[in-house]
């Protein structure tokens, strides 16, 4: 399984995962109120009589930025493993949310994954499958140590 530790693969998976998170944040950041309506439909953060609307609204405003910042860190490589762990945490939360609405028979109609307007993707089994795929990628970035660059590459750097 040495190929798993190849730096190019590690780099590719990190950047790919980061790009998915950055892309997922754009439309939600541009239309926070529309995303809040989608959050309401999951019925996980309210609104309810006890909670009011504030927790769901704050979640709708903050979550896309966590996705975006996490994505940028994964792409740039700064705090990469922590960002991947956070991405994994978010994916586990999304999996739990989607499983909950499927189990409860709640019709979310639009999962709010990548966009907030138009005909969105519903919450279904294909969504669970793609979240699991992304979770695998996040776990890979957290757990695998890429091999140090080979001595040949190091030698190519001119000594000063």
């Amino acid at each position: 399984m040495r190929w798993l530790r190849h730096p190019a693969l590690y780099w590719l998976v990190s950047i790919g995962l980061g790009a998915v998170f950055v892309y997922a944040s754009f439309d939600k950041i541009a239309h926070p109120q529309d995303f809040a309506r989608i959050v309401y439909r999951y019925r996980l953060a309210g609104p309810t009589a006890g909670l009011g609307v504030v927790p769901a609204n704050v979640l709708a405003v903050v979550l896309p930025w966590i996705e975006g910042v996490t994505g940028v860190l994964l792409i740039t490589g700064l705090w990469r493993r922590e960002a991947a762990a956070l991405a994994g945490g978010m994916l586990v939360t999304f999996l739990a949310a989607v499983s909950y609405v499927l189990w409860q028979g709640i019709d979310v109609a639009h999962c709010g994954c990548f966009t907030v307007g138009g005909e969105g993707r519903g919450a279904g089994w294909t969504l669970i499958a793609s979240d699991l795929g992304l979770l695998l990628a996040a776990a890979y970035v957290v757990l695998v140590r890429p091999q140090a660059p080979s001595p040949v590459t190091s030698a190519a750097v001119p000594a000063s």
Binding site: T48, G52, V53, T70, L73, R81, L86
Partner: protein
């Protein structure tokens, strides 16, 4: 090198600050204390105001699925379910066009039906206002309800 949890906390906190600033300053944000279903042009009243209007003869419309209406509803309310709007609307259109004070309600916080019905009525030239927080606001206030399928 082990993971540093503090970094994760910092990422989340930083993103939260960015999100709240963006919502407050970008012009794309919305009031966090306001129901996100509320759009420009929508008019909401609270339960006490709705009660006053009911006593003054306002017509109430129940936007919930008709099964809920048949269990119980605000006295005098007519069913105008959002999920069967066109059919129900055709039935009561003359009555709606001769009424000046219309209040729409649905199941409360997580429910958009009353706002959607009020907007559809407005598109058809019939002004309607929405009971904020809907049915639970009415029953929590201890206002009268009527059981059964009749208004």
């Amino acid at each position: 090198m082990p993971l540093r949890p503090l970094r994760i906390v910092l990422i989340v906190a930083g993103a939260a600050v960015l999100g709240l600033c963006w919502n407050g300053l970008s012009g794309r944000g919305f009031a966090l204390t306001q129901n996100a279903y509320l759009q420009e042009g929508d008019v909401e009243v609270d339960a006490a105001e709705a009660r006053t209007r009911l006593d003054q003869g306002a017509l109430f419309l129940d936007a919930r699925p008709v099964a809920f209406y048949e269990m119980s509803h605000i006295p005098g309310a007519m069913p105008l379910p959002e999920d069967d709007f066109d059919r129900a609307f055709a039935k009561i259109e003359p009555r709606l066009r001769s009424t000046f004070d219309i209040v729409v309600y649905c199941s409360g916080f997580g429910c958009e039906a009353s706002h959607l019905v009020a907007r559809r009525l407005k598109e058809r030239g019939i002004p309607a206002i929405v009971l904020a927080e809907g049915w639970p606001a009415w029953t929590d206030a201890g206002y009268p309800v009527k059981e059964g399928p009749r208004p």
